[in-house]
Symmetry: C2
Subunit: 318 residues, 2 copies
């Protein structure tokens, strides 16, 4: 315990040295708690996600990729609220006092923080099996919050970016091409798209658990949806790596870890989706439509139902 | 993964059902992130602490005690800022889908939350080695923040409650009397004392790492202190369980986990300490004095230095 305690202070000091000052942070790393001045009139948005070894990443990942992913997994939740990320806390549990691993992790974590305007304000280091819990705070005007509620029959279902890359990288393992591995290790949370979509969306959600699972969270009461599976956006890398369309569909509809957003939007006039996409800085694709069927039906280009993509699927949660 | 995913939603639903509503929480458990309305004009105080199996607790602890400790370890950091706790996030990593364990944990965690005015607003559940990361947010008027800085020569060192109980319980293991075990498993963070001491303290810190280690964090630059070891407050249970005064001193000066507060106060007029203690709702004891010696000297009742209590000790961190 005493050795670790000294190590802990040393590691905290390493982190403190790498974090810059910020006007909103009265007191950052180094006291019992951080003191922050929130922006007047803004709502506070708070989320936490933990990364666990062999569940969210494996021991062969570069530490910088783990740091990047740890922040972006949380950024994606903030994006899904239409909010702007501001402050992070980091509860690290490390198996050993390993400054090299920590510096690599910080390269990824603090690099991602700097690019997205996030300040690391505090944290905690414990010894134990590797576990990285991040808490991220953001801000949003109270009347601009996007939620999972509010979907209406007739809404168009729109996704950002492309789907299935990360799941394919996971499945292909060491055979995966670099482009797909990059999507798994270094996802880019759709911050700008979140803010843009929040303005008009009836509902918005991060689809890190997979499109169909997360779509289920949007469909309250008797609502259902048609999803046109052949419209799901696929990257060129995915099309090359997974040439079998049936297999590709599974990654796109069921795979997770893409950190894209799914929005339910009122039907858009011609040209408006392109305008939204330009503002969002990412491609937007209409993939289906909300109805009152109480179920999700996956259809191919010919309108045939692909039952195997959603076997017995109804609602995961109320 | 699919089984765990279903289990995860079920566990989250179990938690959601047990958490009440709150005016300040626009959106609690169940969306991508929580949405909170902070109080106008208040600073936000944020901290995180993780509990790890076999480091902070052992497998034989009742889950309710683990839940209680997880919140109070964080509450203590909020108390040390003079702040009022408001909202919590919980990142749980659990080795198995064990609803009984979770319900027990929630008894302790949510019970402690209710008693201290904290609302659980969100969280995350992963599968992996047991790890409980809590993020706690509090509020404080910006001009009432207590920090670790600001200690002045001549300041009196004052601690809340009694010291050494938790460390003695740890050392005694299964031989420990129930009163001491209670202090280890179910510490009560000094919330009221934190707010009261913050009004007059030059500096305030939570001494969960042990008195001498945490005192070191207060003593910047050339400051030092005299600590009168025989004045350290000891509970009746500690005096009975550890009759050897030398052994007792070690637990009191070096042991951790008591979650008491240490304040540096300007010298107080007669009777004022008693008045502060009444307002704080806990005993307050003057245990020493800040000086400009650059070191901490531990003295017994006769004024003899007890070098073994702080061997080679100077400053842990700048």
């Amino acid at each position: 315990m005493p050795n670790w305690a000294v190590g802990e202070f040393d590691l905290i000091e390493r982190i403190r040295r790498r974090v810059g000052a910020s006007d909103s942070v009265v007191l950052g790393i180094g006291d019992d708690a951080a003191v922050i001045i929130p922006s007047p009139g803004m709502a506070l948005v708070a989320t936490t996600d933990a990364l666990v070894l062999d569940r969210h990443f494996t021991a062969d990942w570069p530490p910088a990729d783990i740091g990047h992913l740890a922040l972006h997994a949380n950024l994606s939740d903030i994006a899904a609220m239409g909010a702007t990320p501001r402050w992070a806390l980091l509860a690290l549990t490390l198996p050993a006092d390993d400054p090299d691993w920590l510096e690599g992790f910080l390269d990824g974590f603090l690099g991602a923080a700097e690019q997205t305007g996030v300040v690391l304000v505090g944290g905690n280091i414990s010894s134990g099996p590797l576990n990285i819990a991040v808490e991220l705070l953001g801000e949003v005007a109270p009347d601009r919050v996007a939620t999972r509620r509010g979907v209406k029959p007739g809404d168009q279902l729109v996704v950002t970016g492309t789907l299935g890359d990360a799941a394919a990288a996971l499945a292909l393992g060491s055979e995966a091409p670099e482009t797909l591995v990059e999507r798994l290790h270094r996802p880019e949370a759709r911050m700008q798209a979140g803010r843009v979509l929040a303005e008009s969306a009836h509902a918005l959600i991060d689809i890190s658990d997979g499109l169909l699972a997360d779509l289920g969270h949007l469909l309250h009461d008797h609502l259902g949806a048609e999803v046109r599976i052949d419209e799901l956006p696929a990257s060129a890398a995915l099309q090359t790596a997974i040439s079998d369309p049936t297999r590709r569909r599974h990654f796109q509809a069921g795979g997770g870890n893409d950190y894209e957003l799914l929005a339910a939007l009122p039907p858009l006039p011609d040209g408006e989706l392109e305008q939204l996409a330009r503002a969002a800085g990412v491609t937007l694709t209409v993939i289906g439509r909300v109805d009152e069927s109480g179920q999700v039906r996956c259809l191919d280009a010919q309108g045939n139902e692909l039952a195997d993509l959603a076997p017995g699927w109804d609602h995961f949660s109320p």
